[in-house]
């Protein structure tokens, strides 16, 4: 039996699953320390299902906590930014494109060191070990405890960053080192940014994750803790502690994967309706479709693969106004104050939830407070909400063909009946905890993204075989059961503007968790 948990900004959701069956779901408010909310939601879900702590074999947590901390500039460490690359890149030092306040907050501790590799893996300059020794002493003197190391073409030559880390570690005790090749592919600036973001979150991740582990074990659960990775796969708590930045998009991906699981479909549009916004994503062959656009985290450019999601201002708390006989939806929302502000709770604001309750689609609060709403108004609002949603769905669709739509999230029942441009509208059971279910059913993944010289590898076929094998091995290393691992994505980007046999190959493999 496994428990999936989603720690969002407002709610912490849980789902208990056995053999891919949902036994129970629960929802509590998110707490500042993360772990007390997680504990209370675990207790609640076990209470509902009547199971005991001993039945649990794994706990999976998806969280936006770390990305939120970075976006809000909370609990960030000073980071030593060490780049191995000189004489290349001296005109564009680390942090050039970061917002000023953020650059100041993490300090401008920039060290540019000689060394680096060409795209074909040969050294263009030897690693300047002496400069690294000096750097270590300086970092020590400044009392910095987190370091990000990047190197030119490190996805091709991981050993350069590893060697640099070894030299620094020799002089530095109790310092966390993030290596850029662990958090990104080709594109030094974006990869380095991701490494620096990750390094700035080390104090937080080393506090939150062990606290979570301890709390779970004190609850009497002996099972391992996993965290959801951006791409919808799992990582061990120890890995996540080192690489908290890899959790940043997990919640959205989890909700798409959870919806896929609940509906049994592998291709559909997923509509996740929350309190303030609705996220619309695309399920393609069982996975979230990713966007190829450069993604920003807290105004810093990275190259993380993000799910392609369209967010619109429509949720359970969206305020409704009428002007010149026209219905105006939001864009503001009463958000988590729904239970004070909405009419149905005796408040003074007409919200989308009030309309859904008046229609009989949802049941909570005191319905009699809504008796004054006319049927005409209710119909008009419902129509306006549907029109907003229909136009957003149309934007995400790949063709004019009608597609199935799956409604999930706490506000899934705001919408009833058919939607234009869709083949069916599905309201799965337990849809309000789809993201927690997505965390629970997650698989273990492995990735490869680097340059291959097809000629040196003995042809395209052999090179791709090698890349696939590396991805599968990485998945097994991360805890996947050998034999269950399959390749779900393979892309090739040949190098252009120069005659070469070099191709940027991207492979993703996923498999079942060993102990499920």
């Amino acid at each position: 039996m496994r428990i999936g948990i989603d720690v969002g900004g407002t709610n912490t959701d849980a789902a208990l699953l056995q053999d891919f069956r949902v036994l129970a779901g629960a929802k509590v408010q998110t707490t500042e320390d993360v772990s007390s909310g997680v504990i209370s939601v675990i207790q609640r879900v076990l209470q509902t299902s009547g199971n005991s702590e001993n039945d649990i074999s794994a706990v999976m947590v998806g969280t936006t906590h770390f990305v939120n901390a970075f976006v809000q500039r909370k609990s960030l460490l000073n980071v030593a930014c060490v780049r191995v690359g000189l004489p290349m890149g001296s005109g564009i030092p680390p942090l050039v494109d970061w917002p000023d306040e953020l650059r100041q907050q993490i300090g401008e501790h920039i060290y540019m060191i000689g060394g680096g590799s060409y795209f074909d893996g040969t050294d263009y300059a030897p690693l300047d070990e002496q400069a690294l020794e000096q750097t270590a002493l300086d970092i020590k003197a400044k009392g910095i405890v987190s370091v990000a190391i990047s190197a030119v073409f490190s996805p091709v030559r991981t050993d350069i960053e590893l060697r640099a880390a070894e030299i620094l570690a020799r002089h530095l005790d109790n310092v966390n080192i993030t290596l850029s090749h662990q958090v990104g592919g080709i594109g030094l600036v974006e990869r380095e940014n991701a490494a620096i973001i990750n390094a700035s979150l080390q104090a937080l991740s080393h506090k939150v994750i062990p606290t979570l582990q301890q709390a779970i074990s004190e609850l009497g659960i002996a099972a391992p803790l996993y965290l959801s990775h951006n791409d919808g796969t799992l990582m061990s708590a120890e890995y996540a502690m080192q690489y908290p930045v890899m959790t940043c998009n997990a919640s959205v991906t989890n909700s798409i994967r959870g919806a896929a699981f609940l509906s049994g479909l592998s291709d559909a549009i997923i509509v996740d309706i929350g309190g303030t916004t609705t996220d619309i994503g695309c399920l393609s062959k069982g996975f979230a479709r990713e966007t190829s656009n450069a993604s920003e985290i807290g105004d810093v450019r990275t190259n993380f693969s993000m799910p392609d999601v369209l967010s619109i201002a429509l949720g359970g708390g969206t305020c409704i106004r009428e002007k010149n006989n026209q219905i105006i939806l939001g864009p503001d929302s009463v958000g988590f104050k729904l239970t004070q502000k909405a009419l149905v709770f005796g408040g003074d604001t007409l919200t989308t939830s009030d309309i859904a309750i008046a229609c009989g689609q949802m049941k909570f609060g005191n319905e009699s407070k809504l008796s004054h709403l006319s049927k005409g108004l209710i119909d008009k609002v419902h129509k306006a909400m549907k029109a907003r949603l229909e136009s957003a769905i149309d934007q995400l669709k790949l063709s004019a063909e009608p597609v199935p739509v799956i409604l999930v999230g706490g506000g899934a029942h705001l919408i009833a009946g058919d939607l234009k441009g869709t083949s069916e509208v599905i309201h799965p059971i337990n849809s309000d905890v789809a993201n927690a279910i997505g965390a629970a059913i997650a698989q273990v993944g492995g990735r490869v993204k680097r340059l291959f010289d097809y000629k040196l590898e003995g042809g395209r076929e052999k090179a791709l075989e090698k890349a696939k094998k590396e991805a599968i091995d990485n998945a097994v290393k991360a805890g996947a059961k050998p034999g269950t691992v399959e390749i779900i994505e393979l892309e090739e980007y040949p190098m252009t503007h120069v005659q070469s046999n070099t191709v940027d190959v991207k492979v993703r493999a996923v498999g079942q968790l060993e102990n499920f």
């Binding site: 290349m88 001296s90 263009y124 030119v152 600036v189 252009t496 120069v498």
Partner: protein, 364 residues
């Protein structure tokens, strides 16, 4: 005009992607380099071509190489400065101004970063008003300037001088070979010209046009509920010989990519959002060369084809296109000098191996 704010640089970069017509290399690295100079208190002074002294020495600075290498090597602060010094030694005189060879893509921003570093002015002009893949595809070359002497160097200081060639196409071939052997990304100083030559051979006012487009997109997005209207107002001004129109709105349903001889070839198929039966196609050889609606050509090189994100109106490079993207395709007329017969012979449809005759956008 002085360029000294981060906002101007970002506007320029956005305009450079627009004028890159899908290619030209992502100008982001150039943007960072220039940003770093501005941060240090440097600035770019932009002058009009007509204000150049007739005997002023002008040269171009351009990057040559693989975009995927550029994003790792980034740029050193010395490479292009040293190239300028080498060029001055070749010419036996000081350089007075820098001119971009192409205003689309990476090579529009690099000259400005160098100019900021060394304190030289940049000429508000270029050799094409867009981006092209070969270094002989510039008006400078069409009207008789030689690319050589060309100074080429990589970031490590390996350098080569091409003293003389019998054609500018040979410089292109040599430069590609040198590039492949120097780490796949090099920089060049080339097309030394005098002020008098620049006045007649260059495409004028393209840098300010680039900035105007980039700023126009930003402002339209900030201020208008329908930003595309604001952008079309800038692009479509018949009195200024500016013609533009929306060629298509729809989503990408198929992309067929391949690499031939080291170049990016692709075709993109799109369908409308309204469920109509139209088929729209884009042909790509590094840049967008041809747009077709239901088999009929609607825009042809050297006229400009640009892909914009349908919602944000952000211009996108061909390499960023993907299945399912919702786009608006804009056709913009090339400036009159680019449509002269002698220019069309080099970078009209025939220059890219197409049998079709060039027909101006406004007649299609």
């Amino acid at each position: 005009m002085i360029i000294n704010t981060i906002e101007q640089i970002k506007d320029l970069t956005r305009g450079a992607v627009f004028l890159g017509t899908g290619g030209g290399g992502d100008p982001y690295v150039g943007q960072l380099l220039l940003q770093q100079e501005i941060r240090k208190g440097k600035y770019v002074k932009v002058i009009k071509a007509k204000d150049l002294a007739d005997d002023a020495q002008v040269v171009s600075i351009a990057g040559i190489g693989a975009p995927s290498v550029l994003v790792e090597h980034l740029q050193s602060k010395d490479t292009c400065r040293q190239l300028l010094t080498k060029m001055e030694k070749q010419l036996g005189r000081k350089v007075n101004a820098i001119i971009p060879a192409e205003i689309g893509g990476l090579n529009s921003i690099i000259p400005m970063a160098v100019a900021a570093q060394v304190g030289l002015p940049v000429v508000d002009a270029d050799g094409m008003g867009r981006a092209f893949p070969h270094l002989e595809m510039v008006t400078f070359s069409v009207y008789g300037s030689t690319a050589a002497p060309v100074c080429i160097a990589n970031e490590l200081g390996d350098s080569v001088i091409i003293e003389k060639t019998t054609s500018n196409r040979k410089v292109e071939d040599l430069a590609r070979g040198i590039c492949a052997n120097l780490g796949a990304m090099v920089y060049s100083a080339l097309y030394p010209m005098l002020g008098a030559e620049v006045k007649v051979k260059a495409v004028h006012d393209t840098l300010s046009y680039c900035l105007e487009i980039g700023r126009g997109i930003r402002l339209a997005r900030e201020q208008l509920s329908n930003p595309i209207d604001g952008i079309m107002n800038i692009l479509e001004q018949p009195k200024l010989d500016r013609h533009a129109r929306i060629l298509f709105e729809g989503k990408v349903v198929d992309i067929n990519r391949e690499t031939r001889d080291g170049w990016h070839w692709a075709s993109v198929l799109m369908i409308p959002l309204n469920g109509k039966d139209d088929r729209f196609e884009l042909e790509i050889q590094n840049e967008y060369l041809k747009a077709k609606l239901n088999g009929k050509t609607t825009c042809l090189v050297p006229d400009l084809i640009t892909t914009l994100d349908l919602d944000t109106c952000e211009p996108l490079t061909a390499e960023a296109l993907k299945y399912g993207q919702r786009l608006r395709i804009i056709g913009t007329a090339a400036t009159p000098i680019m449509r002269r017969p002698e220019c069309l012979a080099v970078f009209g449809p025939i220059g890219f191996g197409m049998s079709e005759e060039f027909i101006p956008l406004e007649d299609l």
